[in-house]
Symmetry: C2
Subunit: 190 residues, 2 copies
């Protein structure tokens, strides 16, 4: 829980009472590697804050190909947008390592926004960053070479590069795993 409270306090100030309220609303859960915690098509019941491990969020296109849109490690949020109106998830979220999360349901989140109003600001800032990151990812796929994209990613998210299976990183970058592997070898030579 300290990890979550620290994360929030990096953006907004919390009183002791706020911290207590937040701590009471979240539940803790552990997952083994390769467990699906949100399934596309099912109601998106929870938002997750990762305290240990690594997860990916992806969708499957009309040809059956998976497209990774997000990773999350410790100190990151992950969830599907259906959460906000309790509709069906469009993303599937799966653990890539044994993982631990704090999670909250929609009622919990709604009452949290009422009781700890600085959380509106906290999530406003988190969402600004998430939206910018998504824009950058999409623009880079069209504007940067695969090599430039990989270098930008490993610079921005050094914590991901070593942990994430290469096929998922390739999917996130919009390239084939073979191409990513060749690219990393070429970069090592320089």
């Amino acid at each position: 829980m300290d990890l979550l409270l620290n994360n929030i306090e990096q953006r907004v100030s919390l009183t002791t009472k706020d911290k207590k309220t937040i701590s009471e609303k979240f539940r803790k859960k552990s997952f083994k590697r390769k467990e699906v915690i949100v399934e596309a098509g099912e109601i998106s019941k929870h938002m997750y804050f990762v305290t240990k491990g690594c997860l990916r969020a992806f969708y499957t296109d009309k040809n059956g190909f998976e497209h990774v849109v997000n990773f999350a490690v410790e100190d990151w949020w992950i969830g599907d947008f259906g959460f906000h109106d309790q509709s069906a998830a469009t993303l599937t979220i799966e653990t890539l390592e044994n993982s631990e999360v704090l999670y909250i349901d929609k009622n919990g989140m709604d009452s949290l926004y009422e009781e700890v109003s600085v959380l509106d600001r906290y999530f406003r800032i988190i969402l600004q960053k998430a939206l910018e990151a998504q824009f950058q990812r999409i623009m880079q796929i069209n504007s940067f070479s695969a090599e430039e994209r990989y270098v930008a990613f490993s610079k921005k998210y050094p914590q991901f590069d070593k942990r994430i299976p290469q096929k998922y990183l390739a999917s996130y970058l919009g390239i084939t795993p073979e191409f990513l592997s060749r690219l990393k070898k070429d970069l090592l030579k320089h």
Copy 2:
């Protein structure tokens, strides 16, 4: 200004004092058709709320192709993400019709968040919707046929379909203008 205040009041409650504060922070500006109001590479100084007209936001890829990522008409926000940390814009924003906007700079926005704290909630909700819309757009490009995408768009945004030049709508949908034109003719036959 009423349009903006009404838009905000659809999501959060404002006091008379809040409304006065908000009204004082925004400036009004008119643009002719085809004016660039934010230029990629320049500091992204303002956020815009459209009160009249129609605009598009796009970026130019490494091959010189423009990709439209957003439209805005009356009652919509538009801006570049560089606004939040006053960095260079990645998007270019251009009017498609003679347009009127309310705009605010970073200092104005920061003081507005301090003085009218429900705006954190308001923008948190706006950002949730914007992030979801971007995800849906990207997923639809990979998962839906061009026809399905066009039908989904014209259903979701009936106010855009007639107003937006077809080449920009095609770019937003990720197809060629010729293909969009053929597709609309085919749909009319059914």
